[in-house]
Symmetry: C2
Subunit: 208 residues, 2 copies
DNA sequence: CTAGAATGCGAGCGTTTACTCACATTGCCA
DNA sequence: TGGCAATGTGAGTAAACGCTCGCATTCTAG
């Protein structure tokens, strides 16, 4: 155990056949992770669940942590692409509506494969993956700070960077904790309303 | 591996000698965890670092996860006892000051063994430990909700429970993320100020 | 002082599991 | 069609590591 060194794929899938294999393996990884947890995930088990030989798995993933890493990367990309695709549209809206839209967006992002999301955040040791998370985080931060700065005249705020830090932390935590501790809250409009209230009052926006 | 079942100590230390052993082992666990990470932590290594035989370790900790679990419990207790001890005093203060005090308290709590805190939150799979965390969380939530309810007349808020959820999530996340991503921010009064602003505006309290 | 309890010891057992490798099969291109 | 590259296979290897157990040492109570 813990022999892992390299985390990049050892071989790129070139033909359609092998691309399918890679996909199947990643899907199986997600299934096994949800069903057995991180400790219960073994490469042999994943191969079996994928209906692929263990050898094939190791053609494309040099070790277990690369396997899980690839899955995390995919999941994070699924979540952020959802947000990014809508964000430009949202940025055009009046501020009060933009706030609500962003909150709803984040909630929807957390509803993408929630089971997997839970296992990934609860159980998977974040060694080495911290870099990727920080990156996403920095992206979020920059976008929010930019939005705040560009609309500064309609807001009652100080340093956009500091405000962005507080806001991003708060909103991320609210959706995240709701997803983990009380998933039903994600459907509860009262949570969205309350979060909107918090953000609007903080930024000094009239209720919309 | 993954043979763990019981998580309670197999034997209570009765004499001073064995109580010292247990302490030494827990300290060594913390050191090893910080130095090698969760994956690099082995029971043999801990025993060696503690200057204790592996057999002795297993006298008091039935398995690896109980060992780490005990450490988490201790750390969480250290953090919460700090908060609880001051909270009654804080509850007496005028609201504007109470807010600042609570924020400072949380920051101080996150400064208890920050290295260990980091490893614990970043790396240790939370399987089974979720219960304890939820418990702490529920306690926090109840206290904040209670405080809000009792001072409701001076605040511009709706359902105290919902507000408490938003507040606790936000404040926890801000200190936690500052601790993880930018420890120097914890010393930066601007962060405290900004967080105060957020909370005060949200609750409708005049700046203090 | 002594007996029995508590504690300490650590070599090594047994299992788990990541990963290899020699070989088979399939697809691609000339 | 032949030949080479890409892909697939899975039994087997080696090492890591959690944990046991039989025995030694230290404490405590009577």
């Amino acid at each position: 155990m813990q022999r892992q060194v390299r985390t990049t794929p050892r071989k790129r899938p070139r033909q359609a056949r092998s691309r399918a294999t890679v996909d199947t393996v990643l899907e199986a990884t997600a299934r096994v992770l949800v069903k057995r947890g991180f400790d219960g995930l073994t490469t042999n088990l994943v191969a079996e669940a994928a209906g692929v030989s263990i050898g094939s798995l190791y053609q494309y993933f040099p070790n277990k942590s690369a396997l899980v890493g690839a899955l995390i990367e995919k999941h994070v990309e699924d979540m952020t692409s959802l947000v990014l695709s809508e964000l430009t549209r949202v940025a055009q809206l009046p501020m009060a509506e933009a706030v609500r839209s962003v909150i709803e967006l984040m909630i929807r992002a957390h509803a993408v494969e929630p089971e997997l999301h839970r296992v990934l955040t609860e159980q998977v040791p974040r060694v080495g993956r911290m870099a990727k998370l920080r990156e996403i985080d920095a992206l979020n931060h920059r976008m929010v700070a930019g939005l705040l700065a560009s609309r500064r005249h309609e807001l009652a705020i100080g340093d956009p960077d500091m405000v962005a830090f507080v806001l991003v932390s708060a909103m991320e935590a609210i959706t995240h904790r709701a997803a983990l501790f009380a998933p039903e809250l994600l459907r509860d409009p009262r949570l969205i309303d309350e979060t909107c209230t918090m953000v609007r009052r903080y930024l000094g926006i009239a209720d919309g």
